[in-house]
């Protein structure tokens, strides 16, 4: 029993780490010769990937998976809320400037 | 027989302190005819140049003994503890008040001493230090007001056969609180009773503090003596 659980944790960790490494790939595709360029696609996908990671941490590491429904919904709502705030401030800020 | 607990020693520091405070008060050249807020920067600077020595020595005396009131307030807080209250809240409140006036007074005291440290500086700066000192000194009333009101409330709530303090002490404290209140608004005027050398902000306020210390000192002395006599009977 415990081994299956720990394998699950290992897989979760591997997924999180590979998502982190995906950033390196993103970074390499967008930058040319070390000069950074603004990119809405990169910004939005960086935020979205980070929030997916946050949700995985909530569900798996923090064991919300086994928690009562209200906590599942609350944490999901929170991820959505954070996403709305971050993307909202990014787009509103871009529109203003 | 009761152990020597120092309560009386602390109490008897009060008259000694009072003598020192009164002498320092008269030694400071700016108090007996309180300096006016209408003095120009040059006049203020001249005052600090001419009276440097008396300002320094009187304020050093105040610096040494300014905090001497704290043990007395704590003695009052301990008497509140003996009252017929259900919680120690009023006692705590008095402890919370105890440090306030000496702290503010020490700030004012430092500004006066700073003013006299280099009286040859630009007159504008000396005037600034003088303003800071006088305003801080005049508005140090908030904790004194709170302390009088809380003490009055504590006495009023002390309903037992032999209350710790008699009811008139409560009324006396209300009167003192009322006398101290106008000083809070001293910055509103250069002249008149509210100004920092005026009737209300200077004379009424400082006389009220002095009377409060004398009257509460006597009341406290009697109460402590009665308490000790009572304790001896019980023992």
């Amino acid at each position: 029993m415990s081994t299956t659980f720990n394998r699950r944790l290992l897989i979760v960790w591997l997924i999180l780490t590979s998502m982190t490494l995906a950033y390196v790939w993103m970074d390499h595709t967008v930058d040319q010769n070390g000069t950074l360029r603004a990119s809405t696609v990169v910004t939005v996908s960086a935020i979205v990937i980070a929030l997916i990671k946050v949700r995985i941490i909530f569900r798996e590491f923090m064991e919300v998976r086994h928690a009562p429904a209200w906590l599942c919904r609350l944490t999901d709502a929170w991820v959505v809320l954070i996403a709305a705030c971050l993307l909202g401030s990014y787009f509103v800020g871009s529109a203003v400037s | 027989m009761r152990r020597t607990d120092g309560e009386l020693i602390l109490f008897w520091t009060l008259p000694v302190l009072a003598i020192i405070w009164v002498s320092a008060f008269f030694l400071f050249p700016g108090f007996v005819h309180p300096m006016s807020p209408t003095m120009s920067a040059e006049e203020v600077a001249g005052f600090y140049r001419d009276e440097t020595a008396r300002i320094r020595y009187s304020m050093i005396l105040f610096n040494w003994f300014g905090v001497g009131l704290i043990p007395v307030v704590i003695l009052l807080a301990m008497q509140i503890r003996r009252m017929a209250h259900r919680t120690p809240i009023l006692c705590y409140s008095l402890i919370a008040c105890a440090g306030g006036p000496p702290t503010l007074f020490l700030i004012a005291n430092m500004f006066w001493l700073l003013g006299s440290f280099r009286p040859e500086r630009a007159p504008e700066l000396t005037q600034l230090l003088n303003d800071l000192a006088w305003l801080t000194f005049t508005i140090l009333v908030p904790y004194l007001i709170a302390q009088s009101l809380l003490l009055a409330l504590a006495i009023y709530w002390d309903r037992q056969d032999r209350p710790v303090f008699k009811p008139w002490v409560a009324h006396f404290n209300l009167l003192i609180a009322a006398a101290l209140a106008p000083a809070a608004f001293t910055a509103l005027a250069y002249t008149g009773p509210i100004a920092w050398d005026g009737l209300l902000s200077f004379w009424v306020k400082n006389i009220a503090i002095a009377v409060w210390i004398i009257v509460m000192g006597i009341v406290l002395g009697q109460t402590i003596r009665q308490q000790r006599a009572q304790d001896r009977v019980i023992a």
């Binding site: - | 017929a84 702290t103 504008e124 305003l135």
Partner: protein, 282 residues
């Protein structure tokens, strides 16, 4: 840690308050309510924060704070415009600043009611009694000195302006340590005086006090003393935190039974309504 046996002449269970006009009920509550000291301190706290908000935000107009990036003439003009508000408003502040004392006493009492050492109550009491001086009074003094003589050297007025706002915003250590003392007491407490989440909220509050420190460094931007992070977010957290502990203290007083063990839960609906009405009158 047991509560001290306070001498009481009145029994804990009192006869009902008279059912007359609200004035007579108020008088009865003031004189005889078994929890009169607690309710007194609580009401002082509520009124103090109301006054604080009105005085700082509307009368003196020092909150939300003006910009640290202003040049000297702008600062002098600001003082000219707010002259009377500052002098009168801070006069009232000096008059009522002593209300902090019963408020801090109530907070200390909440720690006294917990199953923790007295150390916490006394530390908190002293820390927060000290806090009023750098947190409010020094600022008020600098402000009235600047407003007293609008014609003094503008450089000096500018210095007083900086002194006022930096002493007000920049000395947050007392509040940080105070919140942490309260937090530790709540987390260790076994008498259920406060819910544990409030302890964690105290940690959040303490951490926002850290965030104000850059106000000493920056003249503009999010971290200046009027910045989005150093002021606005902190203010929201502070207001929320204050609101929460006012409500929780009210609950604590309703539950108080003057014994040493765990605080009982709130009484049932009927009884709660009764005690509410008693307190509403106070």
């Amino acid at each position: 840690m047991s509560l001290p046996k306070m001498k009481t002449t009145e029994p804990l269970t009192m006869s009902d308050p008279p059912t007359g006009s609200w004035v007579s009920r108020l008088v009865w509550n003031f004189r005889h309510h078994p929890k009169r000291e607690l309710w007194f301190a609580w009401w002082v706290m509520v009124i103090f924060y109301q006054l604080y908000g009105v005085l700082f935000f509307f009368v003196t107009r020092v909150q939300p704070p003006p910009s640290p990036a202003w040049d000297t003439p702008t600062v002098v003009r600001w003082f000219d415009d707010h002259d009377f508000g500052i002098l009168a408003g801070f006069g009232v502040v000096f008059l009522v600043a002593g209300m902090c004392a019963p408020m801090n006493a109530l907070l200390a009492y909440s720690m006294r009611r917990m199953s923790v050492s007295r150390l916490f109550a006394y530390s908190y009491l002293i820390i927060y009694s000290l806090a009023a001086v750098p947190g409010m009074l020094v600022m008020a003094i600098a402000m009235i000195v600047a407003a007293l003589r609008p014609h003094r050297d503008p450089e000096l007025i500018h210095w007083l302006y900086d002194f006022a706002f930096l002493s007000f915003s920049g000395t947050m250590g007392v509040f940080m340590i105070g919140s942490l003392v309260w937090m530790v007491a709540i987390l260790l407490d076994k008498n259920r005086v406060f819910p544990k989440w409030f302890g964690y909220l105290s940690l959040c509050n303490a951490l926002t006090e850290v965030v104000v420190a850059p106000a000493w460094i920056f003249h503009r931007g999010a971290f200046a003393w009027n910045g989005a992070i150093a002021w606005w977010i902190n203010m929201v957290v502070f207001v929320l935190y204050t609101g929460v502990f006012i409500v929780l203290l009210r609950k604590m007083i309703q539950r108080e039974d003057f014994r040493a063990g765990p605080l009982p839960a709130l009484p049932d609906k009927g009884e709660a309504a009764h005690s509410d009405s008693v307190e509403a009158v106070r």
